[in-house]
Amino acid sequence: MPPEPAVIADRYELSVNATMRVVEDAWIGETLLFVLRERLGLPGAKNACEQGECGSCSVLLDGVVVCACLVLAVDAVGSEIQTVEGLSASGDAADIQAALVRGGGVQCGFCTPGFVVAIYDLLRRNPDADEMAVREALSGNLCRCTGYGRILDAVRAVQRARAS
């Protein structure tokens, strides 16, 4: 395979929710979070801290949950990016979203998309996750409204419903 040369970083394509999207006139330092929200019209991943602390920008990169604010967008070329919009459209996270709404796990809702992505990821890998595993999996997602109890309840409700 010939070496891949350095390429100009202002135009590239990203595969987002299984669709190729063209990014143009970009700056090399833009994060995936910025590109999703400001260039591709996908505001589901939220920007609360831009430093990896809050998890509200969680997305799946090649099936692995990461903070979109810590991914350089030009480095996501060639990877499959799934955002909460993709999970919503496919219905894959519908029961998680419904459980959060029903159980009062959503107040201002700012953290919710990040939680949906993180919970989706956890339950796919570990459907029977126990209390500790759930808490650890969600430890990178901050919510300043609910106090977490109702969010954890929603996870348990989804686990119960899926098991039955």
């Binding site: 350095a6 100009i8 831009e50 969680s58 692995v64 949950v65 030009v74 480095d75 990178g140």
Partner: protein, 296 residues
């Protein structure tokens, strides 16, 4: 001096990125674009960009580089590729071979951070609070780097020269880290304000080497660089009853005191210097106690 950028016909600056799949191509891209910045998991890099302290004009992204991935567990040593993530350090054979590295990795950030952040990035960032560093220094880790002039191997203790300072040249890439295998229990403990998403106020790695009948200690966040503690190590080597793998309460307490004496902590927004010293005494003692209890 040339930079990684070129200019188009209109004179606009063109910023370039390379996404090499091999180490040779990565080194070639670095040569082609002097001033280019290396990017691994992005967990330090992107924060610096977003907060304006880093303005890349050219980037060499390393996460596709084959030679930086994976690890080898051989009879005498373990080689860990620079691109190994914390999530990978925390599972499988690597975790069972180096349980204190797995324990340290599990305390880093959050699952999202552990899925992206890498060993090479932690070593290259060389923060006093870098959570892999106490164990690596305790195990006399060697850092293998490669650049235009070839390859060199640098002991971690010499690789990190100060707070976020290393001997790495701009054209060099950290390829992997190698540690000798050591038969016996090991432990990593870290003090912070909560269990997740916390930068260490103080951290300690204790390794009990049953074959050498020796104890190794690495301290983090209590000096500009990760630090060994010769006096605590010598004390433990003598105080432990190696036949039973047991030590008295007084010997354990003395071990903690000696570890605290080896620190030169600062007061900052996370902690006072006094608290750091106190914390080190507690966690060093506890780490050794857990090691020798575990083996009974």
């Amino acid at each position: 001096m040339s930079t990684g950028s070129t200019h188009d016909a209109r004179g606009a600056q063109q910023l370039r990125v390379a996404r090499p799949a091999t180490l040779d191509d990565a080194l070639c891209a670095l040569r082609e674009m002097p001033g280019a910045q290396l990017l691994a998991g992005g967990t330090d890099f992107c924060v610096e960009v977003s907060f304006g302290s880093r303005r890349p004009t050219a980037v060499v992204a390393l996460r596709r580089v084959e030679e930086l991935r994976g690890h080898d567990i051989a009879d005498g040593h373990v080689r860990i590729g620079a691109g190994t993530t914390y999530a990978e350090m925390g599972r499988g054979a690597l975790a069972s071979t180096l349980p204190a590295l797995a324990a340290a990795a599990r305390t880093v950030g959050s699952p999202q951070i552990r899925n992206a952040g890498t060993l090479g990035g932690n070593v290259a960032t060389a923060s006093p609070a870098g959570d892999t560093l106490p164990l690596l220094v305790a195990l006399d880790a060697r850092v293998r780097v490669r650049g235009a002039a070839g390859e060199r191997v640098v002991a971690l203790e010499r690789f990190v020269t100060g707070v976020k300072r290393t001997v790495l040249a701009p054209d060099e890439v950290v390829v992997d880290v190698v540690v000798d295998r050591c038969r016996g229990p090991q432990e990593f403990l870290k003090v912070g304000t909560r269990n997740a998403m916390v930068i260490a106020i103080a951290s300690v790695a204790v390794v009990v080497d049953l074959d050498a009948r020796a104890v190794r200690v690495g301290l983090g966040s209590v000096a500009p660089v990760p630090r060994r503690c010769a006096s605590a190590e010598a004390h433990a080597g003598e105080a432990i009853d190696w036949g039973r793998l047991w030590a008295s309460e007084a010997a354990l307490a003395r071990f903690g005191e000696l570890a605290a004496e080896a620190c030169s902590p600062i007061t900052d927004h996370r902690s006072t210097a006094d608290y750091r010293s106190h914390a080190v005494a507690v966690i060093a003692r506890r780490a050794l106690e857990r090691c020798i209890r575990h083996a009974t």
